[in-house]
C-alpha cells in the first residue's frame, strides 16, 4: 500500500506545517510553514494519481506548484513592505485591525 503511506506522510507534514503557522511569530517562518502545507497537499494529489491510474492528480499538483510560487512572491513582497514601514516582521504587532 504505497499510496496509503504517501497519504500518512502527507498528513504528518501537514500537521507540522499547521503547528508552524500557529506557533511562529516571524512572518518569513510562517510563509515557510505554509510551504510545508502546500507540499503535503501536492504529495496527496500525486498519491491519488497513483491510486486511480490517471494523470489528473499530477496536473493538479503542477497547478498547485504554480499557485504556490505566486503566493510566495506576493507574500514576501508584503513582508518586505511591512518591514520597511515598521522595522519589524513580528506578526503579533500587526494589530491595527483588531476590533
Amino acid at each position: 500500500m504505497l499510496a496509503a503511506n504517501f497519504l500518512l506522510l502527507a498528513a504528518v507534514i501537514f500537521c507540522i506545517g499547521v503547528y508552524g503557522v500557529v506557533a511562529r511569530r516571524n512572518a518569513v517562518l510562517v510563509l515557510m510553514s505554509v510551504e510545508l502545507i502546500l507540499n503535503s497537499v501536492n504529495l496527496n494529489l500525486v498519491a491519488f494519481a497513483v491510486m486511480n491510474h490517471t494523470i489528473d492528480g499530477q496536473v493538479f499538483a503542477l497547478f498547485v506548484i504554480a499557485i504556490a510560487a505566486a503566493e510566495v512572491g506576493v507574500g514576501l513582497a508584503m513582508v518586505l513592505m511591512v518591514y520597511r514601514n515598521r522595522h519589524s516582521i513580528s506578526l503579533d504587532e500587526l494589530s491595527e485591525m483588531k476590533g
Binding site: 500500500m1 504505497l2 499510496a3 496509503a4 503511506n5 504517501f6 500518512l8 506522510l9 498528513a11 504528518v12 507534514i13 501537514f14 500537521c15 507540522i16 506545517g17 499547521v18 508552524g20 503557522v21 500557529v22 506557533a23 511562529r24 511569530r25 516571524n26 518569513v28 517562518l29 510563509l31 515557510m32 510551504e35 510545508l36 507540499n39 501536492n42 500525486v46 498519491a47 494519481a49 497513483v50 491510486m51 491510474h53 494523470i55 489528473d56 499530477q58 496536473v59 499538483a61 503542477l62 497547478f63 506548484i65 504554480a66 504556490a68 510560487a69 505566486a70 503566493e71 512572491g73 514576501l76 513582497a77 508584503m78 518586505l80 513592505m81 518591514y83 516582521i89 513580528s90 503579533d92
Partner: protein, 183 residues
C-alpha cells in the same frame, strides 16, 4: 483496524526497495520538517526546508511522477528558496539564532497539530480498507509517457484553468513589483 495498520506498515507484495526508499526519505523529511518549525535561526529553517522540498521531489520520483519532480526542483528548490533567502536577508534576521521567533502562546500549536494529525490519520486508515483491492503499484503501462499525458491535459481539458493560471501569475508578478517598489 489493527490488521489495517499492519498491512500498511508491512512490506506487502510490492517492491521492497521502493518501500525502503520511501521509509528512509519519509523519515528524513519528517525530521527536517520538525526542524523547520522548531529552530530559532531563520536561515537554518530555510536550509532545513530545502531538505523537505528535495525529499518531496524524491517521493514524486518514487510515485513515477518525474515531470512533477523536476518542476518541484526547478520551482521550489530553485526559485522559491532564493526568494526566501532574499526575504530573510532584506528583513535583516539576526544570524545565529533569535529568541523572538515564536509567539508567546506557541505551545497551543502542539495539541492543535496532534489533534489534527489524529483526525487525518484516522481518516486515512479508515478509508484504506476500500483501497485493499486497488492496484496502486506504480509500475503499470499507462499508454503514452506521463509527460505526454500531462501536456495533452494542459492544452486539452485543462486549457481554461491553464490560461487563468497564467493571468494569476502575471497579476502576482506585477503585484509583487508594486508592493516591493521603494518610493
Amino acid at each position: 483496524m489493527s490488521n489495517t495498520v499492519a498491512s500498511i506498515v508491512a512490506v506487502g507484495d510490492i517492491n521492497v526497495a521502493q518501500n525502503v526508499g520511501f521509509g528512509v526519505i519519509a523519515l528524513m523529511m519528517i525530521v527536517a520538517a520538525i526542524r523547520v518549525v522548531s529552530t530559532s535561526d531563520v536561515v537554518h529553517a530555510a536550509l532545513w526546508l530545502v531538505i523537505v522540498l528535495a525529499g518531496v521531489a524524491a517521493q514524486y520520483i518514487l510515485a513515477a511522477a518525474e515531470f512533477v519532480a523536476v518542476s518541484q526542483v526547478l520551482v521550489y528548490i530553485g526559485a522559491v528558496m532564493v526568494l526566501f533567502l532574499f526575504g530573510i536577508m532584506l528583513t535583516r534576521a539576526q544570524i545565529g539564532g533569535d529568541r523572538d521567533v515564536n509567539n508567546p502562546t506557541w505551545a497551543l500549536g502542539i495539541p492543535a497539530a496532534v489533534l489534527l494529525l489524529g483526525v487525518l490519520a484516522w481518516a486515512v486508515l479508515d478509508g484504506v480498507d476500500e483501497l485493499q483491492g486497488v492496484d496502486d503499484s506504480v509500475i503499470v503501462d499507462r499508454g503514452p509517457a506521463p509527460t505526454v499525458q500531462i501536456s495533452d491535459n494542459f492544452i486539452g481539458p485543462y486549457l481554461v484553468p491553464f490560461l487563468a493560471l497564467s493571468f494569476v501569475l502575471l497579476a502576482a508578478a506585477i503585484g509583487a513589483i508594486v508592493l516591493a517598489r521603494k518610493d
